[in-house]
């Protein structure tokens, strides 16, 4: 199994860098993973998106649809891409510690 090493810590991840064990998530995980998704610093706007996705996942067991993310956080899709350059699925969900989104990508 691949691992992701950062700041002296070591995370078990899948090939795409998603946390293998979503329950191990905490805020430090998001901070540690940020750089790998081309994000220098996590701003309050980043946290708004991450926390929304994280809480939705804890409640419903899946990632929210993108239009829900936009509606609930108030960010337009292009603003989400400004915050997370690799996009809501690869970027934001990864930082929120969700399992990898699947389907016909």
């Amino acid at each position: 199994m691949p691992t992701f090493e950062v700041h002296g810590k070591c995370y078990a991840v899948d090939e795409d860098g998603f946390l293998e064990e979503p329950t191990l998530w905490n805020e430090d995980v998001a901070k540690d993973f940020a750089e790998s998704e081309a994000i220098a610093d996590l701003s309050p706007d980043h946290w708004k998106v991450i926390n929304y996705i994280r809480n939705y996942y804890l409640q419903f067991g899946i990632a929210p649809m993108i239009r829900k993310v936009c509606k609930e956080t108030g960010f337009k899709l292009n603003e989400i891409y400004k915050l997370f350059p690799s996009g809501p699925a690869k970027g934001a969900c990864k930082l929120a510690g969700l399992p990898k989104p699947t389907g016909c990508v």
Binding site: E15, M65, R67, N78, P85, S86, G87, K90, P101, C104
Partner: protein, 399 residues
């Protein structure tokens, strides 16, 4: 893994597919071994799959380039120790030029880039239309993308976005094209770059454009929105050419008239008569006598909606949404239509529900009302045969 004596993998099963007259994909992959190491492991893994009768790719894969949410399909081998060169084997979708017309310069450019960064293997083309660059590693995605972009190529679509639109060759090479499919395809692709690169829908959405009802891109079966050329006035008839077909031995009564689905043609041995108001524009007579018959002069397109493959609720062909749009209004009409459809889909679509399924679930009348279109007889092949008709409560009405 078991190497053959020549350093290439032993591929006894695959080798059989080098025999026979059809161009062999095994030969192609073997020749790609000259420029990259990946094809060798691909052959090895494929041979194993042939033996075991099962795939050896892991489930899913999520990779991409910065700024985009689609365009790259991540893929990993489930036996990377055995086949390290295909441990990563991602696919890049590159938006093709409308109608798939290339200069050899353009193709050489793509080949050079792909030889430097990928396996050298391609699919020309994916079913949706994209140029498929088959097999590279995660760290090569950005550099490949940069080089392609500098050469004027962009990624195509994937995921819950607008997929790469495609069209038939249309007016470039076909006398039956009722509108400029290539221009429409290009214009829509450019207009919806955001929707294409950044998945924002409940699920995928495809647009395909055919210049006439022959539908050479199979738009009616493979696109959520199918735009199919047609005409409103009379079929253009060249009597002299009809006579030549007859003189040349074509049995016009048998081969044309009696096969006309609406039985609206007659041939008395001298003159071909067409009752155009009965004609359903099936193309048959025009297909049989291309020199004598042509689509009419008042041209445009039918817009159809909803085609999809079986998952989840069963396969669908697109059905008529707008019976006729004049050629010079198609683009404008589609843009307005997409705005409304996507808004409705956004509001009511479930996660991973295609537009066709949404219509099945909420009903055509609710959908039409949602997007502000009036029902028309052309939308159905037959009226409903059950009496479970829903009436809206009208104010002041009888409850």
């Amino acid at each position: 893994m078991a190497d053959g004596s020549n350093g290439k993998p032993k591929t006894e099963l695959l080798d059989q597919l080098e025999k026979g007259p059809w161009p062999s994909f095994v030969k192609e992959i073997k020749s790609a071994c000259e420029t990259s190491d990946a094809p060798k492991d691909l052959l090895g893994q494929l041979e194993l799959s042939y033996k075991e009768k099962k795939g050896h790719w892991k489930h899913g894969g999520l990779v991409g380039v910065l700024g985009y949410g689609g365009g790259v399909i991540g893929r990993y081998s489930d036996i990377p120790e055995q086949f390290p060169k295909v441990a990563h084997f991602h696919t890049m979708r590159i938006n093709h030029p409308a109608g798939w017309f290339y200069t050899s310069d353009a193709l050489r450019t793509i080949c050079d880039i792909w030889e430097r960064h990928g396996s050298g293997l391609t699919n020309m083309h994916g079913s949706t239309g994209d140029i498929i660059l088959l097999g590279t590693t995660t760290d090569q995605l950005e550099p490949t993308f940069q080089e392609l972009a500098n050469a004027g190529f962009d990624l195509g679509g994937s995921g819950s976005d607008l997929r790469t639109p495609s069209c038939c060759v249309g007016q470039a090479r076909c006398e039956w094209a009722c509108y400029d499919t290539m221009k429409l395809c290009y214009d829509l692709t450019m207009n919806y770059q955001d929707e294409l690169h950044r998945p924002a829908f409940a699920y995928k959405f495809k647009i395909k454009m055919a210049g006439c009802p022959n539908d050479c891109v199979a738009s009616i079966a493979r696109a959520d929105c199918s735009v199919i050329g047609t005409w409103k006035d009379d079929i253009q008839v060249d009597e002299g050419e009809v006579a030549k077909y007859a003189a040349g031995g074509l049995d016009i009564q048998k081969e044309v008239c009696s096969l006309c689905p609406s039985k609206c043609m007659e041939w008395d041995g001298k003159k071909l008569a067409i009752e155009n108001h009965e004609c359903v524009r099936c193309m048959h007579c025009i297909n049989v006598m291309p020199k004598a018959l042509r689509p009419g002069k008042e041209r445009g397109a039918v817009v159809l909606l909803g085609a999809k493959a079986p998952i989840m609720q069963g396969a669908l062909l697109s059905s008529v949404l707008i019976p006729f749009v004049p050629a010079d209004e198609i683009e404008e009409t589609l843009k307005e239509l997409f705005t409304r459809i996507w808004e409705f889909w956004d509001e009511y679509g479930r996660s991973r529900e295609r537009v066709g399924e949404l219509i099945q679930r909420v009903g055509m009348s609710a959908f039409l009302e949602g997007i502000g279109l009036d029902p028309a007889p052309e939308m159905v092949s037959a009226p409903r045969d059950n009496p479970y008709i829903y009436f809206q409560n009208v104010e002041g009405g009888d409850k």
